[in-house]
Structures are given as C-alpha cells and as structure tokens.
Symmetry: C2
C-alpha cells in the first residue's frame, strides 16, 4: 500500500479540530507513542498524535485521513505486547487516553456505558462501588477497556466467567471512511445477521475504531476465598486441573506458577506469600484457586471438596488465603509477575499460547527444553484453568541480534508444537505485527485469506492500523 505523509496544511486542520493541547505534531510528538511494552518489536514514531475526546472528533479525523490516504493507528494505554498499537507505517496515532469517562450505569439491565479509554482497574473499582462486578480480569490492570475489547483479553477469571468477548453487548465504531456505526444492543441474546460485533472484538483496531462500549456486569459475589496448592513440580500441578474442574466447584480462577517466578516475585515485593517448603517438601510449582460463594457455609463445603481433590492429586497441602490482607498480597504477587520479569530482564520477548488444559505440562516441558538448547532463560506462569500460558524468553548478557535469532528459533519450534497440540497462537495478547507469520501458519491460507478479504471489505484503502493481524 502507498500512503501519503501528513502535510503541514492537514496538520493545521487537525490542530484546529483538537486545539493545541490535544494535538502533537513533528518534534512535539512524545516518544512514548512509538512503542508498546514489548519494544523489541521496534520503535516507530507517528507523524502526529491526536488526543481525542469524542466519537465526532474520531470521525472527523478519519474522514480527513481517508480522503488523503494517511495511515491511522489507534492506541489505548499502550500496554500491549505485540506491537499492535505501534504506527509501523507512520501516519497518525489516535490516542483514546482522554476518552476515560464511565458514562452511565443501567441498573435494571446490569450494564455500563463507557468510553474506551477507561482503565480496567478504574472500571472494576467503579463497578464494585455500584455493587456489581466486571468479570474480565487480565493481569495488566492499567490497560484500557477499549484495548481489552480489541484484543479480546481474557485474564484470571475466564475459567468461571469467560473472556472480554462475553461481556461486550454493544459498541460505537468509527469506520475507516469516518462513518459512525452502532453494533449490538443492551440485550444478551441475538440472532440478527452476521455478528459484526464479534468480528470487531479482537480485531486490534484494524477494522474500525471503538469509541463507546456497553458492557455487561454481574452482581458482585458475596464472598471469595483463595487457596494455594503446592506441588512437587509443574507436571503434577497441572495434572490436578481437570480434577478440580470436574469437582463442581465452579472456581473463579485456576492459576499456575512455577517456583522460579514466585521466588523472584518475593524478592521484588519483599513479601514471601507463597510457601517454598511444605511439610519438609521443597515446592516446585503452585496452583492458585479462587472460589466464590454466598456464605461461609457454602465456601467451607467447597473448600472441603477441593481439599479432597488436592489430596487425591498429590498436593503437599492446601493453604487457605481467607483474610483480605493476605488475599491482596497473594493476588498482587500474581499480578506483578510480568513487572518482576521486566525489572530483571534486559532483553525480553514473549509467547501467549493456549493449549488444551491436559497438554499444558507437556508444552511447558517442551518449551523449557527448547529454550535450554538455545541457551535462553524461559519464565512462565499463566491460566491453568483455560490453558493460556505466558512464556517469556529472557536474557541479560546477550547481544540483541543474537537474542532475536535464538528467540526466533525457539518460537518457530514452540508455535509449531502449539499447532500440533491443537492450540492457539495467542490467548489474549493478540497478533499485532509481531505474530502475523505464526497466525498465518496456524490458521492456514484459506482462513488467513478470508481475514484479508474481511479487512478489505471494511478498509479498502488499508489505512487503519496497517500491517497488523492480516494487513
């Protein structure tokens, strides 16, 4: 695709539209807009940044860029890990960071209307203050909800509540032409034509720009308890998961973590909430389960059943995390894993594969073996309940070019193994421009070709987030 550059005349039009404070052009463009949280995929400066505040502004900008064939990349909080919001073809970045208003709650239909730039942590807290819960709970709490919808983020509570996709009822979208389209309604059932709403979810800002969202909420659970199950090693730990899932406990989360990352987290946060030795056994891996219920009696019954499963599956113990303080510490430790890795690592790359739950251990063993073969340190944690693994390739004392070469070799093998295991290339971090080749290999030419045809139907000139997913 051939794109045009932003001319000073067009820049002036945009500045008139947004005012000086909300328009960055040329040297005024802040460096932060050139990358996301995985800078190994490259830094690309946009020609201008538009800090939009309304659907109308986004529509006006898109009309201008459509007429002039200027690429546009939309960006939330920039917490992505695959270069999804990075303007690799230059042009304009539209940042939704100022569209950060929770617009209204509809308590009769249990939904919230919100702008896309609201942070996940703010939405979650605000919903709780209304007695409601927004169930999707990715580890990165400072991502925007718009970004979460664009990547179909999953998170810790997916095993009980599902993923972001399951909570999006409606949205307002600005198309590449500048046209405004409303998709979905404040209702949960529909069989009314092709689901353009579900097509938009997870499309990483390549088909349209989300400017408003209607999200489903649920009543806040009355109480919850977390339980730590320490195991000898990751294989034993993962083997307990199908049994836990079959025990009718309807757990909110089933997370796994290897000892290594738990140790780093303890060193980083200064609080060792996960025991490393239990009844004389050195712990190699953990399963962290959260149960919810309406009463202490109900939770006690569920904990008893989980205790039986734990014993049958070889857990060294079951440690109950009941007090609010301890619960906060445990989950803060869990949520800090990526931060801990980032703090300890100079060169970093990641995989976000999903494999069937019964293949997790096998996949992890395989990945560790491959990484060892190439002399790269692998660190992993993730969502045992749904098979979504976060695997980080880490190095400190290596040349970057050499690191990239080795990581590519590791990933080629691991993604091929993932496909062999009937897994998915990404669970929640999505494709961006970093994982396009692996997506193509995984879904095959026919499906990849259809994705390209859909992109063309929405964006014939290819101006919206070019070079991403299948563009």
């Amino acid at each position: 695709m051939d794109y045009n550059k932003l001319t000073p005349a067009l820049a002036e039009k945009l500045q008139n539209l947004l005012g000086e404070k909300r328009f960055q052009y040329g040297d005024a463009v802040k460096e932060a807009y050139s990358h996301d949280e995985m800078p190994i995929y490259g830094r690309f400066m946009p020609e201008a940044v538009c800090l939009v505040e309304s659907t109308e502004e986004v529509s006006a900008i898109m009309k201008l860029c459509h007429e002039n064939k200027i690429p546009v990349t939309v960006r939330g909080a920039g917490t992505g890990l695959v270069g999804g919001c990075v303007p690799i073809h230059g042009g304009i970045v539209i940042s939704t960071e100022r569209m950060n208003k929770i617009l209204s709650y509809d308590m009769k239909n249990l939904v919230v209307h919100t702008q896309p730039g609201v942070l996940l942590c703010d939405l979650a807290a605000d919903a709780l203050a209304h007695g409601l819960m927004y169930p999707p709970d990715p580890g990165e709490k400072t991502a925007t909800v718009g970004g979460n919808v664009s990547t179909n983020a999953g998170g810790m509570r997916a095993v009980k509540y599902g993923v972001t996709r399951d909570y999006v009822l409606a949205m307002t979208v600005v198309l590449p032409s500048g046209e405004v389209m409303k998709l979905g309604k404040t209702v949960c059932k529909t069989s009314s034509g092709y689901s353009l709403l579900h097509l938009m979810i997870g499309s990483e800002g390549t088909l349209g720009i989300i400017t408003e969202l209607t999200l489903k909420l649920i009543p806040k659970p009355v109480m919850d308890v977390s339980l730590i199950l320490p195991f000898q090693d990751i294989a034993t730990a993962i083997a307990s998961v199908p049994a836990i899932k079959l025990a009718n406990l309807d757990p909110q989360s089933i997370e796994f973590m290897e000892r290594d990352i738990v140790d780093s987290s303890a060193a980083y946060t200064g609080s060792a909430v996960f025991p490393t030795t239990v009844n004389g056994h050195s712990v190699g891996a953990y399963i962290l389960v959260t149960l919810v219920g309406d009463s202490e009696a109900e939770l006690t019954l569920k904990m008893d059943r989980l205790g039986q499963v734990a014993e049958q599956t070889g857990a060294y113990d079951v440690l109950v995390v009941w007090t609010d303080g301890l619960k906060k510490d445990v989950w803060a430790a869990r949520s800090a894993f990526l931060t801990v890795i980032e703090a300890e690592t100079r060169l970093l790359d990641e995989m976000d594969v999903v494999v069937p739950v019964d293949r997790i251990a096998e996949f992890l063993v395989y990945s560790h073996d491959v990484a060892e073969e190439y002399g790269v340190r692998l660190r992993s944690f993730g969502h045992a309940g749904d098979g979504n693994l976060h695997i980080y390739c880490c190095a400190n004392d290596m040349d970057e070019v050499e690191f990239r070469r080795r990581v590519k070799a590791i990933m080629d093998k691991c993604y091929a193994k993932c496909t062999e295991f009937e897994g998915q290339v990404s669970g929640e971090h999505s494709i961006g421009h970093a994982k396009k080749a692996y997506l193509r290999e995984s879904v095959g030419e026919t499906a990849y070709g259809l994705m390209g045809a859909i992109k063309k139907a929405f964006d014939p000139d290819g101006i919206l987030n070019p070079g991403k997913v299948c563009g």
Copy 2:
C-alpha cells in the same frame, strides 16, 4: 444472481456419489424438504436432496455445484421458523439428518466432538449420561445442534449459562468452493486474528456448511429446583425480574408466561400444573425460576432469598417444584407452548424480538394493543431473564391474504417499536428470508452493506443458501 438448473448428467454424478438411498431427485424429492415449521413463508421444492454422511461428501457436492453454479441450501431437522433452510431459489438441499453421530468426548478438556445432525435432545441426554451438561436449552429439543449453531439458538438457560455461541469451540466448515476449513480449537481463550468462528455462528448456512462441531460442556449441576411465582398481570410479573437478577441467586432460567397460554397448555396436555387461583386471587401471569446448587442447604438458602424478593415484588405466592415428576410436568408444559399454539391455530406467524429486560412488559402491552387494533390474536411467552419474547400472531377464521396483510402491519409497528427500545429483531430464530427487511431497517445500511460484503468474500457466486440474511 443467475443460477443453473441441475441437469440429469449432474444428478447422475450426485447419485453415484451418494447412492440411490441417499439421493432424491425430481419426483422422488419429498415434500417435507420444501418448507420449515412456518409454512406461511412459502413452500419451495428443491431439485434434489442429498442425505450426506461426511465432510468429504459435502465438499464433493459443493465443488460440483460451485463449478456449475447451482444453489445449495443446507438443512438440519427443519424446525426453523423463518424459512432459513428453505431452497427459495431451487437447487440442491443438503440434509445433515444422517450426520447424527456424537463422535467422542474429551473428559480432560470437557468437550464433545459431534456431527451437526445430532438432535439437541440426544446430545443433552448423552452428555448427562457422561456426568456433563450441554447448557444451551432451546424449547425445540428436536432441532439439530448444527441448526442451533447456525442460528445461535439461546433457550431457557441463557440467563445463567449464555447462548449457543458461548459453547462452540471449534468447527469444520465446507466453503462454497468445496474447500474444507477448520476454525477454532479445543481451548476457551483466543486472540488469534478475526474470529471467523464467531462469524460462522448465527450465519444460517450462508457462509459455509458446518460438518463437525466441538462443543464445550460443563459439570452437571448437583441439584436444581424450580419455583413458580404467580402475579396479578404481566407488568407486575416482569417488574420482579431485575430484582431477581440482582439477588445473587444466579438462576438458571427466568421464564414468563401469560395465563392464556398456560390455560391452553393445560387443556392440551390434560395436566394443570400451573395454579390459576392463588389465595383467592386470579393469576394473570407467571414467572418460572430454576435455581441450581450443590446441596439442599444451599438451595434452601437461595429459595428463602427468592421468597423475600417475590414478596417484595408482589407475587401472590412461591410454589416450589421440587419433585422430579412435577418438575418434568412443569417444564414439559413450558416446552409444549409452541406445539399447543400450532395445534390450535390455522394461520400462524411469529416474532422473536429481544428487548431490554425492563422494557418487556411495555413491549408486550404495545404488541397486544396493536394486534387488537388489527383484530389478530396474539399469544406470547418467553425468556424474561434475557428479554427474548416469542410472540405469535394467530388466526383461524380469516382469509390468508387478509391475515398476511394484517400481520405485516402489526409487525411493521412492533419491529419499529423494538428498534425504538434498542432491541434486536431476533433473539434465536434468526432472519432467514422472512425477516430480511426488518434486519436491514434495524441494523442500518452501513452494517447491512458490510454483511453483504462479507457474504461476497465467502461466497462470490452467491450459491450458498441464496436469498437469506443479506443475500
């Protein structure tokens, strides 16, 4: 679009492929394949019927029809209500009725692999025999699961468990070209490119033919109880629903029914399971709630809370349906509503709208007023928990042309009201060829145009189920 007719030479090829028993041609085509369960939308005889048994056969047929530009319409059990499986442009009907095998269970990942022609009732029973539950539970139990996926059927348990869309993990699809494409995997999380899987769900056989499905199952609930809440009228009954939803009971179903349909059902089945007078009050409408739990103690607690809500919202009483026999009778009565209406009615048409839960009563009152104005009898029941209303226009002593004229006038007004209420044209029966104009009006030209462009990307010659949804 211009289509070709099936020539005797092509018919011979198809007969060679399928054998005599599984190929109907010309006069041998059975009349049943010319309509679904709403024959008011017309009867259209196919030129041939193929009773397929495998993906390979479907692919071979599609290749032949693609080369020769012959329309193909896929059909499950033919229980649809909008003409979705009716070959309005002639050509071939591919029936999946013989692809009725449940292929295997994967107990570690809690999924079932199945052919699309398996009946919903058979899948549900078989899953239960494996200690598992397939949550979607539409009233029509003899529909095929392939049909359910193609219409994104919802049913009674959507309020707790979601709709069919939420249980489809993977599928094998034959494209109009005859190419075979696999979508999705046995995992619940994915952010791997545009969701072609979700695009296929609810696309009514217009984008591809589903030949295999991987469906998510859940552990069978330990026990359940149903409760009947009788109210003075439909407005009072519906007003209780948001309160029930907010009471943290996580009900499996919240159904509503008007007195009129309950009386007919009692007369038809010979068993009056719903009380018509309670504490001296004549009942005008009912809410039927099902709660699930792990123990009698848990259910008793939930029932107590529901009792409080019922009292606060003006229910005359709470009738507990605890015994298996009574439960079966109550739900059999509920599931028989359409059969009862069909048995009593010569001329029938229907709407399957969804409105926000707090607008149900208002919408029903409006519909009844409009129908009365046009002298057509309206009968309704549906899913109060999710706002999905089944509204039937009925007449016995009216000329059919006159009935159609009046029903069109009623529907024009009701669908416009539905759009005004921010509702959806169809909750689970879908669009077919009967509701295309209303879909177009409801979603607008931009969205409808994008649906058309997607159809073109999948099926450039328009041979697959032509004339449906947006074709």
